[in-house]
């Protein structure tokens, strides 16, 4: 009886955020079936720990679990992805900070954006997905990713610059071809 209530309460609080969960999982795993497996696993975990959820923001809570489940999954299946030498790349980007070459002046087509975003290192990808696609605040993103607020800001900035660069390069390549 009590358990039936738990299931009902859980589904009411957490099931509406299935799209958000799947979207994040898909962007992190970059694969349909992996995303489905991860999301299902995350829901089971969430259900088990639902007793510890007392907040009102079911989406943030669920996405935190989805993200953790994704990272566990990636560690088991694609560990090299998680070892990106962030600092080197940051220096490289900062040196080109104000270069108009990296500025994106025209809207890029969706296919190109999807590819560029998918190719970003996962650390940048996740903050961009949470910010741009889920439209979450810096604070929410910091909670989900377990990062300091300042780190969230700088990762967003770097991620965007990388994305712009990738899109600009892509366009140049198109023009040349």
């Amino acid at each position: 009886m009590q358990k039936q209530n738990k299931l009902a309460t859980f589904e009411e609080a957490v099931l509406p955020h299935l799209d958000a969960a799947y979207n994040l999982a898909h962007w992190l795993t970059r694969n349909d079936t992996d995303a489905e497996d991860v999301v299902q696993e995350a829901y089971l975990r969430a259900f088990k720990f639902f007793g510890g959820f007392h907040g009102t923001d079911g989406r943030s809570w669920l996405l935190t679990i989805v993200r953790n489940t994704c990272y566990t999954w990636m560690q088991q299946n694609r560990s090299p992805e998680l070892h990106v030498p962030l600092d080197d790349e940051v220096r490289e980007i900062e040196s080109k900070d104000l270069n108009p070459e990296t500025l994106l002046m025209q809207s890029a087509d969706t296919q190109m954006v999807r590819q560029a975003l998918a190719e970003l290192p996962v650390e940048f990808r996740e903050v961009l997905v949470l910010r741009e696609l889920e439209e979450m605040s810096y604070r929410e993103i910091a909670n989900i990713t377990d990062l300091a607020l300042g780190t969230v800001m700088s990762r967003l900035a770097r991620g965007r610059k990388r994305l712009q660069q990738a899109l600009t390069n892509h366009r140049h390549a198109e023009v040349l071809s």
Binding site: Q4, Y22, N23, L44, L103, Q106
Partner: protein
Amino acid sequence: MSCQRAQELIHGYVDGELDLVRSLEVESHIHECEICAQAYRSQTTLRSSLKSDSLYYPAPEKLKKRIHSSLRKEAKSELGQRRFHWRWLTAGASVAFMLLIGLVVWRLVPRSIRPSGELLAQEITSDHVRSLQTPAHLTDVLSSDQHTVKPWFDGKVDFAPPVKDFASQDFRLYGGRLDYLNNRAVATLVYQRRLHYINLFIWPAEQASSTGEVTVQRQGYNLIHWTGSGMNFWAISDLNSVELHEFARLVQEGQ
């Protein structure tokens, strides 16, 4: 505001995460600086490129069903686990209840079917009480002389009880008596300390080995039991247990 600072803050500005003062500062800088204005436009262009719905992966309908059914399964197994725990709890309670019943029955069963030690202590207490009811009950042979008391038992019991007077330690031999205890004839020595009488019951032990003193209390009397020199000894008195132990020690040492 420098361009460097403005470019740092542009993301917060675009994301609406700056406070009002900073927000206005960035805004006025963008109005004045073409490079930063370009950077700002570049950000808004990028954002609008990311706003496309087709970048969002909605969950497939089958995933929803799959999750729903796996959650049901999980809920059921959790329920099962809880029932399982409940079963253990019930089992535990049953055991506790049985123990309680056992204890109650134990208290209620007639004394005669309890083990012999318990029965014997009761028998000895009754005997002691009876011996004190009238002076005639207390002794069959009234003598403080151990050489009179000891031979008196000859022919009356099939063993020779150790008889010793401890008058110098203030446990005076008062006399001897025949008793029937534990389905046999036993020798009883009566000692006196001040106004207290001590009955010391003696009969041959089944096992030769000695055992330490066991102290029990019955109806306000102290009883001390031990085995030694092939004999069972039971001392009983209204004397306090410290002095009765002193007496028991004397008897054991005197043997």
